[in-house]
């Protein structure tokens, strides 16, 4: 793209009286003069409404706002002692294992969900977004099932981590 701009610029410079053609063959100056080092190609450009429309303000909802925020923090806060206590105590307690496991599943799900929200924008990739959301939900449910099976049939979370670390 950048080379296209350069060549047209040179063309214009050499023939200053050349015809000025307007849209749609828009000549857009590069946004940044520096070299473009993009990691990803630009996604599909979706224009909704006109450029002068204000950004819609979502309806205030505590379940998506302050409650959600507090819930996330509660889990994270609980995980601080839960990550340390079972290993510090030296004994595998099923109740602590269950609490740590539950917190771990919820914390992981919330974290992955934030990544899906950030990296698969609904506006540009509506189908991929809902696919990823459901893929994550499926994965989390599978993890919960697997973890329950692991906690009840195998050695449990704390003991398992310990065994792997000291193997």
């Amino acid at each position: 793209m950048a080379s296209t701009f350069r060549s047209t610029t040179r063309l214009l410079a050499s023939r200053p009286t050349s015809a000025i053609r307007l849209l749609p063959h828009t000549r857009v100056a590069a946004f940044h003069a520096s070299q473009r080092q993009q990691i990803l190609p630009p996604g599909p450009q979706v224009v909704q409404g006109t450029v002068n429309d204000p950004v819609p303000i979502p309806t205030p909802n505590a379940a998506h706002g302050s409650y959600h925020w507090a819930f996330e923090r509660l889990i994270a806060l609980g995980m601080v002692p839960l990550c340390v206590a079972p290993f510090a105590a030296g004994t595998a307690n099923p109740a602590l294992d269950a609490a740590l496991g539950t917190a771990l599943v919820l914390h992981s799900h919330i974290g992955f969900d934030a990544c899906v929200t950030d990296y698969f924008p609904k506006r540009q990739y509506p189908k991929l977004r809902s696919f990823m959301v459901w893929l994550l939900r499926g994965a989390t449910v599978t993890v919960a099932v697997g973890l329950f099976s692991f906690q009840t049939n195998d050695v449990g979370l704390t003991e398992g981590v310990k065994k792997m670390w000291k193997a």
Binding site: M1, H32, A76, G111, A139, T142, K163
Partner: protein, 145 residues
């Protein structure tokens, strides 16, 4: 001589869309100065995804591989893992210990921020370097366990 083209108003969206294709694409990380603030922020997500990824892969494998006769039990996996050389073990354990240490300590840093403390440029840098120090210490500690 100047020539013009008739552009219907209805093509405004497609022109805008084609113009937008020329804009820089996020993430354009290289245009920012590397700073402790966003490097630690980014690392928190990467380490979190890494740690949870291991957890997800193992538990999903526990569900789907066990029926196919793959022994996913800790007894079997830890025995096989125990047979690996010390260098291999350290090469795997060191990054995991660092990832856990960093995510843990930076998580605590976030919880401190959530109480309204250390929310100044000075506080952000002070706690940031604290997290790096604690991560180094806890990584070493976990590796000598």
């Amino acid at each position: 001589m100047i020539t013009t083209e008739s552009v219907p108003a209805s093509s405004a969206d497609s022109i805008l869309a084609s113009q937008r294709l020329n804009r820089p694409v996020s993430p354009h990380l290289t245009i920012y100065q590397p700073q402790l603030t966003w490097y630690l922020s980014m690392t928190t997500r990467i380490t979190g995804v890494g740690l949870s990824g291991i957890f997800y892969l193992y538990t999903i494998g526990y569900v789907f591989l066990s029926p196919f006769g793959v022994d996913m039990s800790i007894a079997n996996i830890s025995r096989k893992w125990g047979e690996m050389g010390t260098a291999v073990k350290m090469a795997v354990k060191a990054p995991i210990a660092a990832m856990f240490g960093f995510h843990f300590w930076n998580g605590v840093r976030h919880l401190v921020w959530d109480t309204g403390r250390e929310l100044t440029v000075r506080g952000v840098y002070r706690t940031g370097y604290g997290v790096l120090g604690l991560t180094a210490a806890s990584t070493l500690g976990l590796l000598v366990l």
